[in-house]
Assembly symmetry: C2
Homo-oligomer: 305 residues x 2
């Protein structure tokens, strides 16, 4: 194996990059703004340009580079074909083909969904270290999910594995989700969903609130905030029993901005998971994600190793 590898985690706002030794040591990390103009045509060239600059500074040649792993914010299949990335304004195309054309020096390129990559990162160096299977749920503005089985990312035939954010948890919901559906898990259990629910029960008090405020209030025992987290935990914990009934992972990893709330949130999710779970997997462990924004670049590199 060659000595170096790059991790490229492409988000709607920033491209996060990391240079690693192939023994797993991160040598440096940096980021670029994501330029989404002209259907995101600059995204891949920008990332490669920036990698070339780091290589020049460190006198690294492409012959010393095992390859690059890439995470993108949308569904990707096993061949690296992306099926639209709304945040990047990308349509359907095969990423490795385009990257190889832009940089023929690169010998290997693996692509996956960003949350799947983060799940692999958490398994390798984060909260799920030492396990072989894990399901990561990221609670951010929306909800993402990523699955690793036998230490390998599962993409799914349409790149949809882990996409539980739009599982319908309340068919009677009247407000529409961004996906066009009604009653998606994301409408209740993401940071945005939590605020939406807060506005419903307390329209005035919630005006200047963030999801963090709600979690802080719950930690101080505010009954309305406790109730809001209870509702979130019930819907998410219960939805995860369906994930367990599908793949029965070793561990559930809870990540994303909302996960910084820590135990006040995790305890609710766990409580309802165990309440509704079938006995075979009732004791599945829950952990918090540990790598934060670096989970993606770790997982991207791990895809190559």
């Amino acid at each position: 194996m060659k000595p170096y590898a790059f991790g490229i985690d492409i988000g709607g706002t920033a491209i996060k990059l990391g240079l690693f030794q192939t023994d797993g040591t991160m040598l440096e990390k940096w980021q670029l703004p994501t330029r989404t103009e002209e259907n995101g045509a600059y995204v891949l060239p920008d990332a490669l340009e920036s990698i070339r600059a780091v290589m020049a500074r460190r006198s690294i040649l492409w012959d010393d580079v095992e390859g690059a792993g890439m995470g993108v914010p949308g569904p990707v299949n096993d061949e690296g074909t992306v099926f639209r990335c709304v945040n990047l304004d990308w349509d359907v195309f095969n990423i490795p083909e385009v990257v190889q054309k832009l940089e023929p020096g690169i010998s290997r390129i693996h692509v996956s969904n960003d949350v799947n990559a983060a799940a692999l990162g958490e398994l390798w160096k984060g909260g799920a270290q030492g396990r072989k299977s894990a399901f990561l749920v990221t609670l951010g503005t929306g909800i993402g999910g990523g699955l690793v089985l036998n230490s390998r990312i599962v993409n799914g035939i349409n790149g949809g594995a882990g996409e539980i954010g739009h599982f319908c948890v309340d068919p009677s919901e009247l407000e529409q989700c961004s996906c066009g559906g009604y009653g998606c898990l994301e409408q209740y259990a993401s940071a945005r969903g939590l605020l939406r629910c807060a506005r419903k029960v307390s329209p005035d008090a919630s005006k200047n609130m963030s999801a963090k405020t709600v979690c802080d209030m719950a930690r101080r025992g505010d009954p309305i905030a406790v109730n809001l987290l209870d509702q979130l935990g019930r819907k998410l914990g219960w939805a995860l029993t369906a994930v367990a009934g599908s793949i029965d992972p070793e561990v559930f990893v809870i990540g994303g901005g909302l996960s910084h709330a820590g135990d006040v949130l995790l305890s609710k999710i766990e409580y309802y998971y165990r309440k509704y779970a079938f006995h075979a997997f009732r004791d599945t462990e829950f952990v918090l994600a540990e790598l934060g924004n670096d989970a993606g670049i770790y997982g991207c590199v791990k895809m190559l190793l």
Copy 2:
């Protein structure tokens, strides 16, 4: 690879066995009653005794046998440890260890949950032939589920992968499920569940009914029966959107006794699946299982190949 292999599908009532060539040809199949006395102590010796008799008749030596694959009606982990099989009165033990002691001549033994084995059988020679991933749901007295990814069975860390029969689809249910929970999918979408629901809406009419009668009536347009299948399809189709959000399989295979109802049932399941599914996997194909009771022995043998 040696020329022969055995498939052993152990059920609560019968042990189904098959002798195969390792090119996939089934040479013969037969079955034995399952003796569950003395904590199921006779089950494995009976199966091996019967295999030895067939080998003697055909002058096959253990040196000619690649091994045996076995399916059992309960959760099994990757090492072949079974976590209680209620129907066999089995506790926790490692099946390959016991089999090797009973028959030292056997060179390889692979064990999985019976529905997982059936899923692999359907992928190899049945309704999902040619695919790499499939989720099988068997609608029998209860509900079973089995998962195959990259042409390999996924057991799950507790042997619970595919166990969606006890996913809670209605927390307000007052009647208790056999598992101790309330509102399990099995209480609505299995043959027994369908009859339970029939008794609720039509206590008199349903006295001598079977699940088959309900399906036949629905096919003739009986509004109550149509409504019952509609409810079944809604709960099952919707639950399968959570499976898709977890692993996004190539195809859903519907099997078990109730699946003989065919399109009158399948169309309902598909309709509600597509209604509730996230767009990435909204078009996932649904097929009926094709191998019936033989799916298990096919899948058991495929585990070895």
